[in-house]
Symmetry: C2
Amino acid sequence: MLERDRRKPGSWATTPAKRRRILDAALSCFDERGIAATTIDDICAAAGLHVGSIYHHFAGKDDIFETLARDAMGDYLAGVVDALAGGRSSPDSIRRLVAFHVRWVEQRPALTRLMLSWEETERDRPSGREHYVQYSEAIGAWLRREARAGRIRRMEPDLYSTLLMGPLMEHARQRSAGLTSASPQTMQRGLAAGLRRVLLSGGDG
Amino acid sequence: MLERDRRKPGSWATTPAKRRRILDAALSCFDERGIAATTIDDICAAAGLHVGSIYHHFAGKDDIFETLARDAMGDYLAGVVDALAGGRSSPDSIRRLVAFHVRWVEQRPALTRLMLSWEETERDRPSGREHYVQYSEAIGAWLRREARAGRIRRMEPDLYSTLLMGPLMEHARQRSAGLTSASPQTMQRGLAAGLRRVLLSGGDG
DNA sequence: GGCTTTTTAGAATCCGGTTCTTGAACTATA
DNA sequence: TATAGTTCAAGAACCGGATTCTAAAAAGCC
């Protein structure tokens, strides 16, 4: 029934490549049908493999999802940290952060969706908090340093992540749901301006 | 196997009450086990009914979930609109909005979780955008009015929701995951201050 | 009290994820 | 190049949970 791509003997891919192929297949399924709606069979068909093989490489659907999501999150976080660290001043770091974020979201819609969904599902699990903590840590170091130097408004640590991540994640959500009519450039400028006003010292208390 | 609460003949509840009982049962299950993990049987046990009866009142698990989530969202939105409309000035409206939000999240952890999860799952569905649009509309009217009067910084409409909803929803997420150590009062003050800086006119462009 | 409609019980069904068994392909070693 | 051990693929079997279906009890109505 399913059109499977049976290879002739002798052309067996090496393990990491096969793993990759499953992940890629899953990613495109997740992206086009939604995460809950894709079945293992869908992934089988897309990867040209049978259930057994998939379960040989992964513990299950969740494992595949988590692997993809974890990678996506890791990639995003690395970019965030780089952007912040690479700025030559606080405003510059903020500009770079927002520029990176908007570009990432624009260029990786599937990964964006994955990252956002993960956020949701992870919360219920034992390991749930992990990513959140990771995110906070990633930004925390930079924020603490800048705040200590007086370049960034001093406030309750919890507020930093709320006020920084909030707009960024909300933007990602809107964008991945196709709800923004404004251009990426406009959003980028607006987000940067907003974050500057919230974070940088000066003005009313 | 399941301990069902069989009522004696003659004590049958009226329809809306029965519906309510199912919803309440489901809400507590969702809350204590997580949404994905609660089975229909769990809800049956909690409501003291059998599958058949539940399917008589609702189309399925999703229907129950959506009903609860829609109600939660409706309640929240109504409060938001009230808060904004009731302020005697823009800063006052913002203060009221944040105060309402923080209180709501504190007092209704189960509904908060539901609302946030709905956001996630809804995106994939045909009717997906609906709630988002609803949210934007709810705040949109107030924002447009204030902006036209010059009391609120003029910006791309999409940015309003990003910059307003972003921090609030992020706060709700953190809170419902038990990740804030700061007191509600602190968060409330901080959020209000942040939103004021972003939204109110004046200062750098 | 008999008739219709609503609600319930619970068995039957269906669907999708996971497990298990078998065998084929690869690897290393002699 | 046979051989033992290991990894990978196939696909049937299994299992749990959502949904559907049928019959019967309760409620409403005359």
